[in-house]
């Protein structure tokens, strides 16, 4: 087989024609993709959108996570505002109660001291344990067991 003849034969094979209906469709799509075909307002907003924004660069990859975090933060802020409005009233209400409770506790403590006297076992119990200086082998209990 002569290579040149083979190549020439391949070259003579006519290629398929591009479908004629594609021309209008592709040109129309290309024309509509041109920035000049947009109205000025859309073009301006498009240019603004195309401008790289640091904020959008940071937020866009995790947009949902950031939105969720924002919602949670707003909720916490709202709760904080609401609770701050109530807090003086709560303090006013709770203050006398805690004063009464302190008086009652002091009374009970006084009664307990009177009942138990000065040598209370609680004080003994609070004493630190004395460490045995002898080695374990010389302790009386250990010798008895051996």
């Amino acid at each position: 087989m002569n290579p040149d003849e083979f190549e020439k034969h391949l070259q003579r094979q006519p290629l398929r024609q591009v479908p004629s209906e594609w021309r209008a469709e592709i040109l129309q799509a290309a024309t509509s993709a041109r920035p000049s075909s947009l109205d000025p307002l859309a073009r301006r907003s498009g240019a603004k959108a195309a401008r790289p924004s640091l904020l959008s660069t940071i937020l866009w990859p995790n947009a949902k996570a950031w939105a969720g975090l924002g919602c949670v933060w707003i909720l916490i802020f709202a709760l904080h505002i609401a609770s701050r409005g109530n807090s003086p009233m709560l303090a006013q209400v709770s203050a006398p109660e805690s004063a009464n409770m302190m008086i009652t506790l002091k009374d009970r403590e006084q009664t307990l001291v009177e009942l138990m006297g000065n040598n209370s076992p609680a004080k003994d119990a609070d004493k630190p344990r004395r460490l045995d200086p002898q080695p374990r082998s010389e302790r009386p209990g250990t010798t008895a067991m051996a």
Binding site: M1, E7, H9, L10, Q13, L15, R16, V18, L27
Partner: protein, 170 residues
Amino acid sequence: MPDKSDLQRLYDEHAQALFAFLLNFTRDENDTRDLLQEIFSRLAREPGLLRGAREARAFLIRLAHNAAIDLIRRRGTRQKYHDQLAEEESYIFAVAKDADEAAFRESLSRALAGLPADQRAVVHLKLWENLTFEQIAETLDISPNTAASRYRYGLDKLREHLRPLYEEIK
């Protein structure tokens, strides 16, 4: 920026060549249409895209080749399926009236589909765009030696595959 008449002129001058190249490269008519539209949309969008190009045809084929490679990369794992598809369909030649010629074109289309895409691109540009190896090298961003060797390997495979049919119709 090319206006509408410029785009029409570019389409009329180059769409056929781009269509044939893309159809041979992708072996899929829908992909070919999408890529062709992508190229002309880009030409419409980007001012002066062709301004620095020495040869518009070579530049557009380079755009087409890069766009086709991007498409294949985007598909990633689906490439295997795509390769399989390439061997099954999309005859790139016109329908022949003569039965022998029709059989030869069908076999040639299948044989081309069986080539690796890089060899297929070089063979196409050499045989049907009549580009030199230097031009092919510039278009596909490879060395002229690589272009020549890919062409030789590709042509050898086509010759081997088509020998019986070619001997018959010669």
